[in-house]
Symmetry: C2
Subunit: 238 residues, 2 copies
DNA sequence: CGATGCGTTGATAACTTTCAAATTTAGTGG
DNA sequence: CCACTAAATTTGAAAGTTATCAACGCATCG
Protein backbone atom coordinates (compact mmCIF):
# COMPACT_ATOMS: atom_id res chain seq x y z
CA UNK A 1 0.00 0.00 0.00
CA UNK A 2 2.87 2.30 0.71
CA UNK A 3 6.45 2.47 -0.44
CA UNK A 4 8.99 -0.08 0.58
CA UNK A 5 11.44 -0.46 3.41
CA UNK A 6 13.97 2.26 3.86
CA UNK A 7 16.74 1.33 6.24
CA UNK A 8 19.49 3.01 4.35
CA UNK A 9 22.77 1.46 5.28
CA UNK A 10 24.28 4.82 6.13
CA UNK A 11 21.39 5.50 8.46
CA UNK A 12 22.19 2.69 10.86
CA UNK A 13 25.03 3.18 13.21
CA UNK A 14 25.92 2.66 16.79
CA UNK A 15 25.90 5.95 18.62
CA UNK A 16 29.24 6.57 20.29
CA UNK A 17 27.52 8.29 23.19
CA UNK A 18 24.21 7.73 24.84
CA UNK A 19 21.98 9.63 22.41
CA UNK A 20 22.13 13.34 22.85
CA UNK A 21 19.41 14.71 20.67
CA UNK A 22 16.68 12.54 22.07
CA UNK A 23 13.53 14.60 22.57
CA UNK A 24 11.90 15.02 26.01
CA UNK A 25 10.65 11.46 25.54
CA UNK A 26 7.46 11.47 27.53
CA UNK A 27 7.16 7.75 27.26
CA UNK A 28 3.46 7.06 27.50
CA UNK A 29 4.35 3.43 27.75
CA UNK A 30 6.91 3.60 30.49
CA UNK A 31 6.54 6.72 32.52
CA UNK A 32 4.50 5.21 35.30
CA UNK A 33 6.90 2.58 36.56
CA UNK A 34 9.56 3.92 38.87
CA UNK A 35 12.28 1.53 37.81
CA UNK A 36 11.43 1.94 34.17
CA UNK A 37 14.75 3.57 33.48
CA UNK A 38 16.98 0.68 32.66
CA UNK A 39 15.19 -0.63 29.59
CA UNK A 40 14.98 2.86 28.22
CA UNK A 41 18.57 3.51 29.19
CA UNK A 42 19.71 0.25 27.67
CA UNK A 43 18.08 1.11 24.38
CA UNK A 44 19.67 4.55 24.37
CA UNK A 45 23.02 3.00 25.14
CA UNK A 46 23.25 0.04 22.82
CA UNK A 47 20.42 0.56 20.39
CA UNK A 48 21.13 1.25 16.74
CA UNK A 49 19.59 4.28 15.11
CA UNK A 50 17.63 4.01 11.89
CA UNK A 51 15.87 6.71 9.93
CA UNK A 52 12.75 6.18 7.86
CA UNK A 53 11.31 8.77 5.53
CA UNK A 54 7.59 9.51 5.66
CA UNK A 55 5.37 6.64 4.54
CA UNK A 56 8.08 4.01 4.41
CA UNK A 57 7.81 0.58 5.93
CA UNK A 58 9.72 -0.24 9.11
CA UNK A 59 8.69 -3.85 9.20
CA UNK A 60 6.03 -5.92 7.52
CA UNK A 61 3.44 -8.35 8.75
CA UNK A 62 4.83 -11.89 8.88
CA UNK A 63 8.41 -10.73 8.82
CA UNK A 64 10.58 -12.14 11.59
CA UNK A 65 10.28 -10.03 14.72
CA UNK A 66 13.95 -9.69 15.57
CA UNK A 67 13.96 -6.17 16.94
CA UNK A 68 12.28 -3.99 19.49
CA UNK A 69 11.95 -0.34 18.50
CA UNK A 70 11.73 2.97 20.29
CA UNK A 71 10.62 6.13 18.55
CA UNK A 72 13.21 8.87 18.86
CA UNK A 73 11.53 11.44 16.63
CA UNK A 74 8.64 11.39 14.22
CA UNK A 75 5.83 8.90 14.63
CA UNK A 76 4.83 5.43 13.59
CA UNK A 77 1.64 3.56 12.80
CA UNK A 78 1.16 -0.18 12.92
CA UNK A 79 -1.55 -1.65 10.75
CA UNK A 80 -3.01 -4.64 9.05
CA UNK A 81 -4.79 -4.90 5.73
CA UNK A 82 -8.12 -6.70 6.09
CA UNK A 83 -9.39 -9.15 3.54
CA UNK A 84 -11.84 -6.63 2.19
CA UNK A 85 -8.99 -4.25 1.46
CA UNK A 86 -9.59 -1.88 4.34
CA UNK A 87 -6.70 -0.95 6.55
CA UNK A 88 -7.01 -1.27 10.31
CA UNK A 89 -4.49 0.70 12.31
CA UNK A 90 -3.26 -1.07 15.41
CA UNK A 91 -1.73 1.91 17.12
CA UNK A 92 0.20 5.14 16.87
CA UNK A 93 3.62 5.47 18.45
CA UNK A 94 5.06 8.82 19.41
CA UNK A 95 8.56 9.81 20.56
CA UNK A 96 9.51 7.75 23.58
CA UNK A 97 7.04 4.96 22.79
CA UNK A 98 8.20 1.43 22.27
CA UNK A 99 6.77 -0.70 19.49
CA UNK A 100 7.41 -3.98 17.75
CA UNK A 101 6.83 -6.02 20.91
CA UNK A 102 5.82 -9.51 19.80
CA UNK A 103 5.35 -12.90 21.37
CA UNK A 104 5.51 -15.02 18.30
CA UNK A 105 8.47 -15.15 15.93
CA UNK A 106 6.79 -12.96 13.38
CA UNK A 107 5.20 -9.55 13.44
CA UNK A 108 1.42 -9.64 13.41
CA UNK A 109 1.20 -6.08 12.10
CA UNK A 110 3.15 -3.94 9.69
CA UNK A 111 4.76 -0.69 10.81
CA UNK A 112 5.29 2.50 8.82
CA UNK A 113 6.74 5.90 9.52
CA UNK A 114 3.95 8.51 9.51
CA UNK A 115 6.43 11.36 9.20
CA UNK A 116 10.20 11.30 8.75
CA UNK A 117 11.13 9.21 11.73
CA UNK A 118 14.17 8.12 13.70
CA UNK A 119 14.02 5.00 15.81
CA UNK A 120 16.32 3.12 18.12
CA UNK A 121 16.32 -0.59 17.51
CA UNK A 122 17.62 -3.37 19.69
CA UNK A 123 17.76 -7.09 18.99
CA UNK A 124 15.25 -9.14 20.90
CA UNK A 125 17.93 -11.75 21.52
CA UNK A 126 20.21 -9.16 23.04
CA UNK A 127 17.41 -7.97 25.23
CA UNK A 128 16.54 -11.48 26.32
CA UNK A 129 20.15 -12.09 27.19
CA UNK A 130 20.27 -8.90 29.21
CA UNK A 131 17.02 -9.81 30.94
CA UNK A 132 18.71 -12.97 32.13
CA UNK A 133 21.27 -10.93 34.05
CA UNK A 134 19.20 -7.87 34.92
CA UNK A 135 15.82 -8.89 36.28
CA UNK A 136 14.51 -5.35 36.07
CA UNK A 137 14.66 -5.52 32.29
CA UNK A 138 12.44 -8.55 32.30
CA UNK A 139 10.04 -6.87 34.68
CA UNK A 140 9.90 -3.84 32.45
CA UNK A 141 9.18 -5.91 29.38
CA UNK A 142 6.42 -7.58 31.32
CA UNK A 143 5.08 -4.22 32.48
CA UNK A 144 5.28 -2.88 28.96
CA UNK A 145 3.20 -5.80 27.77
CA UNK A 146 0.67 -5.18 30.47
CA UNK A 147 0.32 -1.57 29.49
CA UNK A 148 0.00 -2.49 25.85
CA UNK A 149 -2.77 -4.89 26.83
CA UNK A 150 -4.53 -2.19 28.82
CA UNK A 151 -4.28 0.18 25.90
CA UNK A 152 -5.79 -2.32 23.50
CA UNK A 153 -8.60 -3.07 25.93
CA UNK A 154 -9.38 0.61 26.23
CA UNK A 155 -9.52 0.73 22.48
CA UNK A 156 -12.22 -1.93 22.47
CA UNK A 157 -14.32 0.25 24.72
CA UNK A 158 -13.88 3.04 22.21
CA UNK A 159 -14.75 0.96 19.18
CA UNK A 160 -18.19 -0.07 20.39
CA UNK A 161 -19.29 3.53 20.75
CA UNK A 162 -20.70 6.12 18.37
CA UNK A 163 -18.59 8.12 15.94
CA UNK A 164 -18.74 11.20 18.17
CA UNK A 165 -17.61 9.20 21.17
CA UNK A 166 -14.77 7.58 19.24
CA UNK A 167 -13.46 10.86 17.91
CA UNK A 168 -13.78 12.61 21.27
CA UNK A 169 -12.02 9.72 22.96
CA UNK A 170 -9.28 9.80 20.35
CA UNK A 171 -8.69 13.51 20.85
CA UNK A 172 -8.48 13.12 24.62
CA UNK A 173 -6.06 10.22 24.22
CA UNK A 174 -3.84 12.18 21.88
CA UNK A 175 -3.97 15.26 24.09
CA UNK A 176 -2.61 13.17 26.94
CA UNK A 177 0.13 11.73 24.81
CA UNK A 178 1.47 14.65 22.84
CA UNK A 179 1.63 16.86 25.93
CA UNK A 180 0.98 20.15 24.20
CA UNK A 181 -1.57 21.30 26.72
CA UNK A 182 -4.84 21.98 24.98
CA UNK A 183 -3.32 22.61 21.60
CA UNK A 184 -2.26 19.43 19.89
CA UNK A 185 -0.50 18.85 16.60
CA UNK A 186 -1.64 15.58 15.09
CA UNK A 187 1.07 13.68 13.27
CA UNK A 188 -1.43 11.57 11.34
CA UNK A 189 -3.86 12.18 8.50
CA UNK A 190 -7.64 11.97 8.63
CA UNK A 191 -7.38 8.66 6.85
CA UNK A 192 -5.09 7.36 9.58
CA UNK A 193 -7.55 8.48 12.24
CA UNK A 194 -10.43 6.90 10.36
CA UNK A 195 -8.59 3.59 10.01
CA UNK A 196 -7.70 3.71 13.69
CA UNK A 197 -11.27 4.33 14.81
CA UNK A 198 -12.98 2.05 12.32
CA UNK A 199 -14.78 4.95 10.64
CA UNK A 200 -14.62 6.54 7.21
CA UNK A 201 -12.61 9.64 6.55
CA UNK A 202 -15.81 11.56 5.82
CA UNK A 203 -17.34 10.65 9.15
CA UNK A 204 -14.19 11.71 11.00
CA UNK A 205 -14.17 15.00 9.14
CA UNK A 206 -17.85 15.67 9.76
CA UNK A 207 -17.54 14.77 13.42
CA UNK A 208 -14.63 17.15 13.90
CA UNK A 209 -16.60 19.89 12.19
CA UNK A 210 -19.60 19.29 14.39
CA UNK A 211 -17.40 19.32 17.49
CA UNK A 212 -16.08 22.65 16.34
CA UNK A 213 -19.59 23.97 15.82
CA UNK A 214 -20.44 22.77 19.31
CA UNK A 215 -17.46 24.83 20.52
CA UNK A 216 -15.79 21.77 22.01
CA UNK A 217 -12.73 22.16 19.81
CA UNK A 218 -11.14 24.55 17.36
CA UNK A 219 -9.41 23.65 14.09
CA UNK A 220 -6.86 26.31 13.17
CA UNK A 221 -5.41 23.94 10.56
CA UNK A 222 -6.44 20.42 9.74
CA UNK A 223 -3.55 18.97 11.72
CA UNK A 224 -3.78 21.27 14.71
CA UNK A 225 -6.61 20.87 17.17
CA UNK A 226 -7.33 23.01 20.18
CA UNK A 227 -9.40 21.50 22.94
CA UNK A 228 -11.71 24.26 24.05
CA UNK A 229 -14.05 22.35 26.29
CA UNK A 230 -12.64 19.20 27.79
CA UNK A 231 -15.71 18.82 29.95
CA UNK A 232 -17.86 18.54 26.87
CA UNK A 233 -15.43 16.09 25.28
CA UNK A 234 -15.37 14.00 28.41
CA UNK A 235 -19.12 14.05 28.54
CA UNK A 236 -19.31 12.89 24.96
CA UNK A 237 -16.59 10.35 25.54
CA UNK A 238 -18.67 9.13 28.49
CA UNK B 1 -26.53 -5.53 37.54
CA UNK B 2 -26.36 -9.10 38.74
CA UNK B 3 -26.36 -10.76 42.11
CA UNK B 4 -23.48 -10.52 44.49
CA UNK B 5 -20.39 -12.52 45.22
CA UNK B 6 -20.84 -16.13 46.06
CA UNK B 7 -17.71 -17.75 47.41
CA UNK B 8 -19.42 -19.90 49.93
CA UNK B 9 -16.99 -20.82 52.63
CA UNK B 10 -17.75 -24.49 52.29
CA UNK B 11 -17.01 -24.33 48.59
CA UNK B 12 -13.36 -23.41 49.00
CA UNK B 13 -11.01 -26.13 49.96
CA UNK B 14 -7.64 -27.47 49.10
CA UNK B 15 -7.98 -30.65 47.09
CA UNK B 16 -6.09 -33.49 48.74
CA UNK B 17 -5.21 -34.91 45.35
CA UNK B 18 -4.36 -33.29 42.08
CA UNK B 19 -7.87 -32.65 40.76
CA UNK B 20 -9.56 -35.72 39.42
CA UNK B 21 -12.74 -34.54 37.84
CA UNK B 22 -11.17 -31.91 35.71
CA UNK B 23 -12.74 -31.99 32.24
CA UNK B 24 -10.66 -32.53 29.09
CA UNK B 25 -9.54 -28.94 29.49
CA UNK B 26 -8.82 -27.89 25.94
CA UNK B 27 -7.10 -24.79 27.14
CA UNK B 28 -7.44 -22.33 24.32
CA UNK B 29 -5.03 -20.15 26.17
CA UNK B 30 -2.27 -22.64 26.80
CA UNK B 31 -2.43 -25.50 24.38
CA UNK B 32 0.11 -24.19 21.92
CA UNK B 33 3.18 -23.96 24.12
CA UNK B 34 4.93 -27.23 24.64
CA UNK B 35 6.11 -26.54 28.17
CA UNK B 36 2.77 -25.13 29.13
CA UNK B 37 2.17 -27.94 31.55
CA UNK B 38 3.69 -26.67 34.74
CA UNK B 39 1.50 -23.63 35.27
CA UNK B 40 -1.55 -25.70 34.59
CA UNK B 41 -0.21 -28.48 36.73
CA UNK B 42 0.66 -26.08 39.52
CA UNK B 43 -2.85 -24.73 39.54
CA UNK B 44 -4.32 -28.20 39.63
CA UNK B 45 -1.99 -29.11 42.45
CA UNK B 46 -2.16 -26.18 44.81
CA UNK B 47 -5.13 -24.19 43.57
CA UNK B 48 -8.22 -23.82 45.71
CA UNK B 49 -11.59 -24.72 44.25
CA UNK B 50 -14.48 -22.34 44.37
CA UNK B 51 -18.00 -22.75 43.01
CA UNK B 52 -20.13 -19.91 41.75
CA UNK B 53 -23.80 -20.28 40.87
CA UNK B 54 -25.07 -18.86 37.61
CA UNK B 55 -24.96 -15.06 37.37
CA UNK B 56 -22.90 -14.50 40.50
CA UNK B 57 -19.88 -12.27 40.70
CA UNK B 58 -16.42 -13.82 40.94
CA UNK B 59 -14.63 -10.53 41.32
CA UNK B 60 -15.52 -6.92 40.75
CA UNK B 61 -13.87 -4.08 38.92
CA UNK B 62 -11.48 -2.20 41.20
CA UNK B 63 -11.23 -5.03 43.66
CA UNK B 64 -7.69 -6.11 44.51
CA UNK B 65 -6.44 -8.63 41.97
CA UNK B 66 -5.01 -11.19 44.36
CA UNK B 67 -5.84 -14.34 42.46
CA UNK B 68 -5.44 -15.97 39.10
CA UNK B 69 -8.32 -18.24 38.08
CA UNK B 70 -8.78 -21.24 35.87
CA UNK B 71 -12.18 -22.44 34.75
CA UNK B 72 -12.78 -26.05 35.71
CA UNK B 73 -16.39 -26.32 34.60
CA UNK B 74 -19.03 -23.87 33.52
CA UNK B 75 -18.07 -20.56 31.94
CA UNK B 76 -17.24 -17.02 32.86
CA UNK B 77 -17.68 -13.59 31.36
CA UNK B 78 -15.64 -10.52 32.21
CA UNK B 79 -17.25 -7.15 31.67
CA UNK B 80 -17.33 -3.50 32.38
CA UNK B 81 -20.30 -1.15 32.68
CA UNK B 82 -19.87 1.91 30.50
CA UNK B 83 -20.88 5.36 31.60
CA UNK B 84 -23.99 5.25 29.44
CA UNK B 85 -25.15 2.12 31.23
CA UNK B 86 -24.27 -0.33 28.50
CA UNK B 87 -22.28 -3.39 29.38
CA UNK B 88 -19.19 -4.31 27.38
CA UNK B 89 -18.07 -7.90 27.72
CA UNK B 90 -14.30 -8.30 27.77
CA UNK B 91 -14.20 -11.98 27.10
CA UNK B 92 -15.68 -15.41 27.64
CA UNK B 93 -13.71 -18.08 29.47
CA UNK B 94 -14.42 -21.76 29.00
CA UNK B 95 -13.14 -24.82 30.86
CA UNK B 96 -9.34 -24.81 30.81
CA UNK B 97 -9.09 -21.07 30.21
CA UNK B 98 -7.26 -18.84 32.62
CA UNK B 99 -8.67 -15.46 33.60
CA UNK B 100 -8.09 -12.71 36.11
CA UNK B 101 -4.61 -11.94 34.81
CA UNK B 102 -3.83 -8.35 35.75
CA UNK B 103 -0.84 -6.06 35.76
CA UNK B 104 -2.06 -3.46 38.15
CA UNK B 105 -3.13 -4.17 41.71
CA UNK B 106 -6.79 -4.02 40.87
CA UNK B 107 -9.04 -5.76 38.42
CA UNK B 108 -9.98 -3.63 35.45
CA UNK B 109 -13.03 -5.75 34.68
CA UNK B 110 -15.62 -7.61 36.69
CA UNK B 111 -16.11 -11.35 36.29
CA UNK B 112 -19.30 -13.37 36.60
CA UNK B 113 -20.24 -17.00 36.23
CA UNK B 114 -22.41 -17.45 33.14
CA UNK B 115 -23.57 -20.86 34.27
CA UNK B 116 -22.93 -22.73 37.51
CA UNK B 117 -19.16 -22.69 37.48
CA UNK B 118 -16.22 -24.21 39.30
CA UNK B 119 -12.85 -22.49 39.21
CA UNK B 120 -9.40 -23.12 40.55
CA UNK B 121 -7.84 -20.08 42.14
CA UNK B 122 -4.25 -19.42 43.07
CA UNK B 123 -2.74 -16.45 44.82
CA UNK B 124 -0.73 -14.16 42.60
CA UNK B 125 1.87 -13.83 45.31
CA UNK B 126 2.25 -17.59 45.48
CA UNK B 127 2.62 -17.73 41.74
CA UNK B 128 5.19 -14.96 41.74
CA UNK B 129 7.14 -16.77 44.41
CA UNK B 130 7.03 -19.98 42.38
CA UNK B 131 8.09 -18.11 39.26
CA UNK B 132 11.20 -17.03 41.12
CA UNK B 133 12.25 -20.63 41.46
CA UNK B 134 10.75 -22.15 38.35
CA UNK B 135 11.53 -19.98 35.35
CA UNK B 136 9.11 -21.91 33.17
CA UNK B 137 6.21 -20.56 35.23
CA UNK B 138 7.32 -17.03 34.52
CA UNK B 139 7.68 -17.83 30.85
CA UNK B 140 4.20 -19.28 30.78
CA UNK B 141 2.70 -16.25 32.44
CA UNK B 142 4.47 -14.15 29.87
CA UNK B 143 3.22 -16.35 27.05
CA UNK B 144 -0.27 -16.28 28.50
CA UNK B 145 -0.17 -12.51 28.44
CA UNK B 146 1.00 -12.54 24.87
CA UNK B 147 -1.85 -14.75 23.84
CA UNK B 148 -4.34 -12.61 25.70
CA UNK B 149 -2.97 -9.63 23.83
CA UNK B 150 -3.31 -11.41 20.51
CA UNK B 151 -6.87 -12.33 21.35
CA UNK B 152 -7.80 -8.77 22.19
CA UNK B 153 -6.17 -7.52 19.00
CA UNK B 154 -8.16 -10.00 16.96
CA UNK B 155 -11.25 -8.71 18.67
CA UNK B 156 -10.48 -5.22 17.46
CA UNK B 157 -10.42 -6.50 13.92
CA UNK B 158 -13.85 -8.00 14.54
CA UNK B 159 -15.35 -4.88 16.08
CA UNK B 160 -14.69 -2.65 13.10
CA UNK B 161 -16.67 -4.89 10.79
CA UNK B 162 -20.34 -5.25 9.96
CA UNK B 163 -22.86 -7.06 12.14
CA UNK B 164 -22.81 -10.10 9.85
CA UNK B 165 -19.05 -10.26 9.96
CA UNK B 166 -18.96 -9.90 13.73
CA UNK B 167 -21.49 -12.64 14.29
CA UNK B 168 -19.88 -14.98 11.77
CA UNK B 169 -16.49 -14.34 13.35
CA UNK B 170 -17.91 -14.99 16.77
CA UNK B 171 -19.41 -18.30 15.72
CA UNK B 172 -16.15 -19.44 14.15
CA UNK B 173 -14.24 -18.43 17.27
CA UNK B 174 -16.62 -20.31 19.53
CA UNK B 175 -16.59 -23.35 17.27
CA UNK B 176 -12.83 -23.50 17.66
CA UNK B 177 -13.00 -23.15 21.39
CA UNK B 178 -15.86 -25.42 22.41
CA UNK B 179 -14.59 -28.26 20.23
CA UNK B 180 -17.93 -29.81 19.46
CA UNK B 181 -17.21 -30.18 15.78
CA UNK B 182 -19.81 -28.30 13.80
CA UNK B 183 -22.46 -28.40 16.48
CA UNK B 184 -21.79 -25.98 19.26
CA UNK B 185 -23.64 -25.35 22.49
CA UNK B 186 -23.33 -21.72 23.47
CA UNK B 187 -23.04 -21.12 27.19
CA UNK B 188 -24.06 -17.47 26.89
CA UNK B 189 -27.28 -15.63 26.16
CA UNK B 190 -28.04 -13.43 23.17
CA UNK B 191 -27.55 -10.42 25.38
CA UNK B 192 -24.07 -11.65 26.30
CA UNK B 193 -23.20 -12.10 22.64
CA UNK B 194 -24.54 -8.66 21.82
CA UNK B 195 -22.54 -7.02 24.59
CA UNK B 196 -19.46 -8.89 23.44
CA UNK B 197 -19.81 -7.80 19.83
CA UNK B 198 -20.97 -4.27 20.50
CA UNK B 199 -24.37 -4.90 18.90
CA UNK B 200 -27.93 -5.02 20.19
CA UNK B 201 -29.67 -8.25 21.02
CA UNK B 202 -32.11 -7.66 18.17
CA UNK B 203 -29.34 -7.31 15.62
CA UNK B 204 -27.67 -10.50 16.85
CA UNK B 205 -30.96 -12.35 16.63
CA UNK B 206 -31.76 -11.05 13.16
CA UNK B 207 -28.27 -11.83 11.92
CA UNK B 208 -28.46 -15.40 13.17
CA UNK B 209 -31.83 -15.79 11.51
CA UNK B 210 -30.51 -14.46 8.24
CA UNK B 211 -27.48 -16.77 8.43
CA UNK B 212 -29.91 -19.63 8.90
CA UNK B 213 -31.94 -18.51 5.89
CA UNK B 214 -28.72 -18.39 3.91
CA UNK B 215 -28.14 -22.01 4.96
CA UNK B 216 -24.84 -21.11 6.61
CA UNK B 217 -26.02 -22.30 10.01
CA UNK B 218 -28.87 -24.12 11.67
CA UNK B 219 -30.54 -23.23 14.95
CA UNK B 220 -32.11 -26.34 16.52
CA UNK B 221 -32.52 -24.43 19.78
CA UNK B 222 -31.49 -20.90 20.60
CA UNK B 223 -28.38 -22.05 22.43
CA UNK B 224 -27.33 -24.73 19.96
CA UNK B 225 -25.86 -23.75 16.64
CA UNK B 226 -24.83 -26.04 13.83
CA UNK B 227 -22.32 -24.72 11.34
CA UNK B 228 -23.56 -25.94 7.98
CA UNK B 229 -21.32 -23.99 5.67
CA UNK B 230 -18.04 -22.88 7.15
CA UNK B 231 -16.88 -21.68 3.78
CA UNK B 232 -19.73 -19.20 3.69
CA UNK B 233 -19.03 -18.12 7.26
CA UNK B 234 -15.37 -17.67 6.48
CA UNK B 235 -16.26 -15.68 3.42
CA UNK B 236 -18.54 -13.44 5.45
CA UNK B 237 -15.97 -13.20 8.21
CA UNK B 238 -13.47 -12.22 5.54
C1' DC C 1 -52.91 -21.46 34.48
C1' DG C 2 -50.78 -17.09 34.62
C1' DA C 3 -46.41 -14.81 35.40
C1' DT C 4 -41.76 -14.18 33.93
C1' DG C 5 -37.68 -14.21 31.21
C1' DC C 6 -35.64 -14.88 26.83
C1' DG C 7 -35.70 -14.76 21.98
C1' DT C 8 -37.72 -13.37 17.62
C1' DT C 9 -40.00 -10.33 14.41
C1' DG C 10 -41.80 -5.85 12.58
C1' DA C 11 -41.85 -0.81 11.74
C1' DT C 12 -39.56 3.31 12.16
C1' DA C 13 -35.84 6.44 13.36
C1' DA C 14 -31.01 7.51 13.81
C1' DC C 15 -26.56 6.97 12.33
C1' DT C 16 -22.83 5.92 9.16
C1' DT C 17 -21.30 4.90 4.66
C1' DT C 18 -21.10 5.67 -0.15
C1' DC C 19 -20.69 8.35 -4.14
C1' DA C 20 -19.84 12.82 -5.97
C1' DA C 21 -18.15 17.35 -6.03
C1' DA C 22 -16.22 21.51 -4.08
C1' DT C 23 -12.59 23.51 -1.43
C1' DT C 24 -8.36 23.90 0.78
C1' DT C 25 -3.60 22.71 1.39
C1' DA C 26 0.91 21.17 0.01
C1' DG C 27 4.39 20.44 -3.26
C1' DT C 28 6.91 21.59 -7.66
C1' DG C 29 8.86 23.95 -11.27
C1' DG C 30 9.29 28.19 -13.51
C1' DC D 1 7.62 34.40 -5.21
C1' DC D 2 3.93 32.87 -8.14
C1' DA D 3 1.38 29.59 -10.84
C1' DC D 4 0.12 25.11 -11.40
C1' DT D 5 -0.79 20.35 -10.19
C1' DA D 6 -1.68 16.79 -7.02
C1' DA D 7 -3.21 15.42 -2.66
C1' DA D 8 -5.92 16.01 1.40
C1' DT D 9 -9.95 17.63 3.53
C1' DT D 10 -14.54 19.17 3.69
C1' DT D 11 -19.31 19.25 2.30
C1' DG D 12 -23.69 17.51 0.15
C1' DA D 13 -27.26 14.08 -1.12
C1' DA D 14 -28.78 9.46 -1.20
C1' DA D 15 -28.46 4.68 0.21
C1' DG D 16 -27.51 1.21 3.51
C1' DT D 17 -27.01 -0.49 8.12
C1' DT D 18 -28.04 -0.75 12.90
C1' DA D 19 -30.62 0.88 16.92
C1' DT D 20 -34.89 1.78 19.06
C1' DC D 21 -39.51 0.96 20.31
C1' DA D 22 -43.18 -2.23 20.35
C1' DA D 23 -45.39 -6.55 20.04
C1' DC D 24 -45.48 -11.43 19.83
C1' DG D 25 -44.14 -16.38 20.66
C1' DC D 26 -42.28 -19.76 23.46
C1' DA D 27 -40.55 -22.04 27.27
C1' DT D 28 -39.99 -22.48 32.35
C1' DC D 29 -41.64 -22.25 36.86
C1' DG D 30 -44.39 -21.32 40.60
Amino acid sequence: MQTQTAVRSDAIHRPAMPMRNVPPARSHALDSATEAESLDHTMNLIGAVAAYPRNTEIFGENEPADYLYKVVSGSVRTYKILNDGRRQIGGFYLPGDIFGLEFADEHTLSAEAIADTKVLMIKRRTLNALAGRDASIGRQLFALTGRELARVQDRILLLVQSAQERVAGFLLEMAERVSGGNSIELPMSRQDIADYLGLTIETVSRTLTSLECAAAIQLPTSRRIVLRDRTALNRINA
